[in-house]
């Protein structure tokens, strides 16, 4: 029983990180209808810059640098590339993001060279906490707490502020939103910035021994890939779904790895995704339009 609870906590901790990535991915998709395959690179870029400055300005300073740089990169991709390709199809833009991802990944790997694996979770990585009879890694608890705070803040903003109203209006009907005086370019740019911020935060949990494994930052990009099935399981059009999709992915991989083996934990995520796609093609919480009959 103790092991099971421990696995659940670990699974929820990892799932919360996937939820952060998937939420950013879905916000960008809702605002622009572009599937951003460069999402892992946003995390990687932020993590790389944070690693570069960590020793000189300290961990907290590095967090600010990492998070902001991921957001700035996301904004640059949107302003310099996506928004200028006005007549390109969404499919072409998705392929463009694959190109961006490849370039950033190759360059960061080249710059890191053969140096020792960089890690970013200094205050919590490889440290444990005792909760009664349980011994839980701090990384999972901090990740879960951080994600819960961010999810709460995001959903309050999404439901209650005029920014959220503009986001929802634009994602539902671009023409009607424009006729309300909503500036499409600002909404789109803000969606990419939020996506970048969340990816920049997620990397501080991905580039740890506890979640990312022995290769630290280098594995962050690979691990971040699990955000795609998280977003698809939850439904690409649902912000709430992306969070739940992330938790499902985290729990599935943790339970699979614990009770079968590590490889099955990885594969099980994609099996769940396939089952969801067959049963509910638009994902668990994806858009199903309500029509009066």
């Amino acid at each position: 029983m103790t092991t099971f609870v421990q696995v659940l906590i670990n699974g929820l901790g990892v799932g919360a990180v996937f939820g952060l990535l998937a939420l950013g991915f879905v916000i960008i998709f809702k605002a622009t209808e572009v599937v951003n395959f460069a999402h892992g690179s946003l995390a990687l870029f932020g993590g790389y810059l944070a690693y570069q400055v960590k020793d000189s300005i300290g961990w907290f300073g590095a967090v600010i640098v990492g998070v902001l740089s991921a957001a700035i990169l996301a904004l640059a991709i949107e302003r310099l590339l996506i928004s200028r390709a006005k007549h390109a199809s969404h499919d072409s833009l998705a392929i463009m993001t694959i190109g961006i991802d490849t370039i950033i990944l190759a360059d960061v790997v080249r710059r890191l060279g053969t140096a020792a694996a960089p890690f970013l979770g200094d205050p919590y990585d490889t440290k444990s906490v005792s909760l009664g009879s349980l011994t839980v890694s701090r990384t999972y608890l901090v990740a879960l707490a951080t994600a819960l705070v961010l999810f709460t803040l995001f959903f309050i903003a999404f439901r209650k502020t005029s920014w959220g109203l503009q986001m929802r209006a634009q994602s539902e009907n671009k023409e009607a939103a424009a006729l309300m005086g909503i500036r499409s370019s600002r909404v789109t740019a803000s969606a990419w910035v939020v996506g970048g911020l969340l990816a920049g935060i997620a990397v501080f949990f991905l580039a740890t021994n506890d979640i990312g494994g022995g290769s630290g930052l280098l594995s962050a990009h690979t691990v971040a890939f699990a955000a795609f099935p998280a977003a698809i399981i939850g439904g690409l059009t649902s912000t709430e779904g992306s969070v739940i999709g992330g938790l499902i992915v985290g729990l599935t991989s943790a339970l699979g790895a614990q009770y079968v083996n590590y490889e099955f934990g990885v594969v099980a995520v994609y099996l769940v995704m396939l089952v969801v796609l067959v049963v509910r093609p638009s994902g668990l919480f994806g858009r199903v339009d309500q029509v009066r009959v």
Partner: protein, 272 residues
């Protein structure tokens, strides 16, 4: 005073589809101007050009100017045009169906200064009290007539100087259409200029002061609504026509019966 002025307007979709050319007319302040025309005449294209949403449909203005209250708006984006005092109820209402009625109204007031939003909301609910009862319902679950009320109310939340209405009667029952007509008059009496695009010429000409008729992207007729209502061309094209004499009517009826009989015969051949 002229509030909206369209001069020598030409519109193209894609690289080669010329949807409109040489269209000019003025919309006086505090008036209701009806824009009539059959399907494909360019009515919606005209409204998209005025509201700046042509690019969302792959179109662009290739010639001419549009001025709102003395300022050129034909090169502005829709958000800037809305902020200059133009509102539009788009074709098929296009309410935000997954958002509540209240959220739709909030979205309509986004371009209105915060200090005036409460007054705008009160005016809209005064005009459409039903929207207050439905405030928390998803807009997609409202009836067609209620959705049209919401679409008009949402546009009025922007306190527009000019309101463009794109076929508000489309798909609605006759009683609701009458109600929409009364609403247009009320909006106008409260000080908003209205440009009403309609296929329902009877309703449009009843509420409008003046009207223009578009045909295949060109302006064919213009004049006082009452004069156009009495014109033979308008009667024939948009108001169901009228027979000149009883004999004429009988002859037409006979021809119609003959055509029906011929069709029946051919159907028999196919079904034999």
């Amino acid at each position: 005073m002229i509030l909206l002025s369209i001069s020598d307007l030409a519109v193209r979709y894609g690289r080669s589809v010329k949807a409109m050319h040489g269209v000019s007319f003025d919309v006086p302040d505090q008036s209701v101007v009806a824009v009539l025309g059959s399907n494909g005449a360019g009515k919606s294209t005209l409204l998209r050009a005025i509201s700046g949403t042509l690019s969302l449909h792959g179109g662009e203005i290739t010639n001419g100017t549009i001025e709102l209250d003395g300022t050129r708006i034909d090169r502005m984006d829709p958000a800037a045009i809305v902020r200059r005092g133009l509102g539009q109820v788009p074709e098929n209402r296009q309410v935000f169906s997954r958002m509540s009625v209240e959220e739709n109204l909030r979205a309509g007031g986004l371009a209105t200064p915060p200090s005036r939003r409460a007054a705008a909301r009160a005016a809209v609910l005064d005009m459409f009290p039903k929207l207050a009862d439905r405030a928390s319902q998803p807009a997609g679950l409202l009836s067609g007539g209620e959705q049209q009320m919401l679409a008009i109310g949402r546009a009025m939340m922007g306190e527009p100087k000019v309101l463009l209405l794109d076929e508000p009667s489309l798909g609605l029952a006759p009683l609701i259409i009458e109600q929409i007509g009364r609403t247009v008059t009320e909006i106008n009496e409260r000080g908003t200029t209205v440009v009403l695009v309609e296929q329902n010429a009877m309703m449009a000409l009843t509420v409008a002061h003046t009207a223009v008729v578009l045909e295949v992207g060109e302006l064919k007729l213009r004049g006082d609504a009452d004069e156009l209502k009495a014109s033979e061309d308008i009667q024939r094209l948009y108001l169901g026509g009228h027979a000149e004499s009883e004999e004429h009517a009988d002859a037409e009826q006979g021809e119609a019966a003959e055509r029906l009989e011929r069709r029946r015969k051919s159907l028999k051949v196919w079904s034999a």
